[in-house]
């Protein structure tokens, strides 16, 4: 490539007019992304990534051009060079922020795993309930250590609702506990680069279904979903199909069940007097509807359904994001640049 052509490319990419055009394009695309029903279609599209890529090249070229200009000012001992360097630092910070965003987009791994009290799941690809792998998953994740929930406690607020949930998580190598830490919303467990964040939590009653001869049809913990309801949250599982049968269960779980004036409700949100409201459907026909306390059973079509135990569970979001640190470093550098900018007498005017 000739020097002349290189010069033209350099001038094109370092031009501030291009910067204005690209900022306009990014702004317009973001507005468009917010106006359509699926914003991800815009923000993950090739053209949006292309504009962002062009922006980072432009930003880098502009910054390099500023460095050249700043060196000239420095040599000529003109006043205001601190402000010039401050602007350079700010732009370097912005470049690092955008780079951090790109690294996150390419290398961030996210997974989801539910763990019930007393059970141990392993951090392997197959054990994740949901997994969005990333190029470094084989190095950072898939380590094979065990993840267990030892205990869970619900801390209630003044109104008796759940304020926050504390889950004691253990990590195991074989039978050996290598780490034990409390996890709560906003307080993750970090181990070997992986962050374990509380995503959701709930109750899992143990339901047993037997036929008239006492043969077991089903026995398992059924995870209740927490539903944000008005005036308060509740726990339910709808349309749970008993494996291999045409039996469907609609359940609502009450951690501390009371019946007042014919209304079933929970007195408090921690375990007290657990109860289950069940609707059983077989082959599309309603078979039985009932409310049972722990240890009780209901009968339908010669079968029996009992509720014998309840355990807590936690849904962990497992995240590895190498771009986050880079991005926050960029933020810090930008902030330092801003401090220097305000300390410079010429402030923003040198550039105009």
């Amino acid at each position: 490539m000739s020097t002349r052509l290189l010069g033209r490319v350099w001038r094109f990419f370092k031009s501030k007019e291009l910067a204005v055009l690209l900022i306009t394009c990014i702004t317009a695309s973001s507005v468009m992304g917010m106006l359509i029903s699926q914003p991800d279609k815009v923000f993950t599209s090739w053209w949006f990534i292309g504009i962002s890529g062009a922006f980072i090249i432009n930003l880098t070229s502009c910054t390099l051009s500023q460095v050249i200009k700043a060196r000239r000012v420095w040599k000529s001992s003109e006043p205001g060079h601190l402000s010039i360097w401050a602007l350079i630092v700010i732009h370097v910070g912005l470049i690092i922020i955008v780079l951090g965003g790109f690294i996150s987009a390419g290398f961030k791994m996210t997974g989801y795993m539910t763990v019930m009290e007393g059970e141990v799941r392993t951090e392997t690809q197959e054990e994740y309930d949901v997994l969005k792998k990333a190029p470094l998953f084989g190095i950072i994740g898939n380590s094979g250590y065990g993840i267990g929930l030892q205990k869970q406690q619900r801390i209630l607020d003044r109104e008796g609702k759940v304020d926050y949930i504390v889950s004691e998580i253990i990590l195991l190598e074989g039978d050996r506990v290598i780490l034990k830490e409390s996890v709560e919303e906003g307080k993750p467990l970090i181990y070997k680069g992986l962050g374990f964040y509380e995503h959701n939590a709930g109750f899992a009653p143990l339901v047993t279904i037997e036929d008239s001869n006492g043969n077991m049809i089903y026995k398992g913990f059924i995870f209740m979903e927490t539903v944000n309801g008005q005036p308060e949250n509740y726990y339910q599982r709808r349309n749970f199909t008993v494996p291999g049968r045409n039996i469907k269960l609609d359940m609502r779980f009450y951690p501390d069940m009371v019946i007042e004036a014919g209304q079933v409700k929970t007195q408090k949100y921690s375990l007290g007097n657990p109860g289950l409201e069940i609707n059983v459907t077989q082959d599309g026909l309603k078979m039985e509807k009932g409310i049972i306390k722990m240890g009780e059973k209901i009968n339908f079509e010669g079968n029996s359904l009992s509720f014998d135990e309840v355990r807590h569970w936690i849904g962990l979001e497992i995240i590895y994001d190498p771009g986050a640190g880079v991005l926050f470093t960029g933020c810090l550098i930008t902030a330092i640049g801003l401090c220097f900018l305000w300390s410079g007498k010429k402030s923003l005017h040198w550039w105009t």
């Binding site: 906003g186 995870f223 494996p243 995240i319 994001d321």
Partner: protein
């Protein structure tokens, strides 16, 4: 007297003073009387006192800085805007006229707030972090500078137009030269740009600590980013293409409308802002493997 009653009295008093101040500012402009503007500023001070007292009372009542729910959020933003105005006009008396925009905006916010639910709600634990404090502080500062910048822009647009006609309202004539107003506007835009940037960055750090993601293209996040980009664009247009004066002022007014929409309009348009996405799979497991079949 209950805390709520005290707050409502304080806030209504503040609304009253803001109303009085607004009438004085507008009258000053219409009847071209300088003393009206001075009295308008006095009313701004008078509005600030009960607003601050009410806010402190709410703080004591709830045990946290008022930032939760429509009542508290609007009230604290109104306080931030009024505080910013009081400080700015104290440091630069020439900017007193900005009260013509600031006071009605504050009056509207406090008015809407007192008519909304005053119920005290429990704050989720993730909101108890100093990062959130930083986030909120810079949001208030950005909001204050955005209002002042818009007020300056409107003043510039009126004054420059009247100058062209050759007849300038005496009050606007008392303002500094249009070039000076334009320069102040530029400084407030730069300040708003920086404050918005810090607000977005601190929000990102907080989200990362709480949920492991610093950015989720959430409507509020994205509209805040769009506002920040617009202010960045105004600054770059000024330094690269010389967009000053009327064009810069129109852009600043547009950016102000956008910021207002980002702060207060988004919750009306998008119902699930800042709500963590839910997974819907992997919710049952049997004791005996194979999906729980015995």
């Amino acid at each position: 007297m209950t805390s709520i009653k005290i707050q409502l009295i304080m806030f209504w008093a503040s609304v009253g003073f803001c109303f009085g101040g607004t009438v004085l500012f507008i009258s000053g402009l219409i009847f071209k009387r300088e003393p009206f503007v001075k009295y308008g500023t006095v009313f701004a001070y008078l509005a600030f006192i009960p607003l601050t007292a009410g806010l402190i009372n709410r703080w004591v009542q709830t045990g946290h800085f008022p930032y939760w729910g429509v009542y508290e959020v609007l009230m604290s933003y109104a306080w931030g805007a009024l505080f910013f105005y009081v400080v700015v006009q104290f440091l630069k008396p020439g900017l007193r006229i900005a009260g013509t925009l600031v006071l009605p905006v504050v009056m509207l916010m406090v008015g809407i707030a007192v008519m909304s639910s005053v119920e005290m709600k429990e704050i989720p634990r993730t909101f108890f972090t100093y990062w959130l404090g930083i986030h909120i502080l810079f949001a208030k500062l950005s909001y204050g500078s955005v209002i002042i910048s818009a007020a300056l822009s409107i003043a510039y647009l009126f004054k420059s137009k009247q100058q062209k006609r050759g007849v300038v309202n005496p009050l606007l004539a008392r303002l500094p030269q249009v070039e000076k107003i334009d320069n102040w506007n530029y400084q407030f835009i730069a300040f708003a740009f920086v404050m918005l940037g810090i607000m977005i960055a601190s929000g990102a750090v907080w989200a990362y600590k709480a949920w492991g993601r610093y950015w989720g293209w959430d409507p509020i996040e994205t509209w805040a980013l769009i506002s920040w980009l617009i202010y960045g664009l105004i600054l770059h247009l000024r330094v690269t293409m010389g967009w000053r004066g009327r064009r810069a002022s129109w852009l600043a007014v547009f950016a102000f409308i956008l910021v207002i929409f980002s702060f207060f309009g988004i919750p009306l348009v998008y119902p699930s802002i800042h709500e963590h996405l839910k997974y819907t799979v992997g919710l049952s497991r049997g004791l005996f493997g194979n999906g729980g079949q015995a």
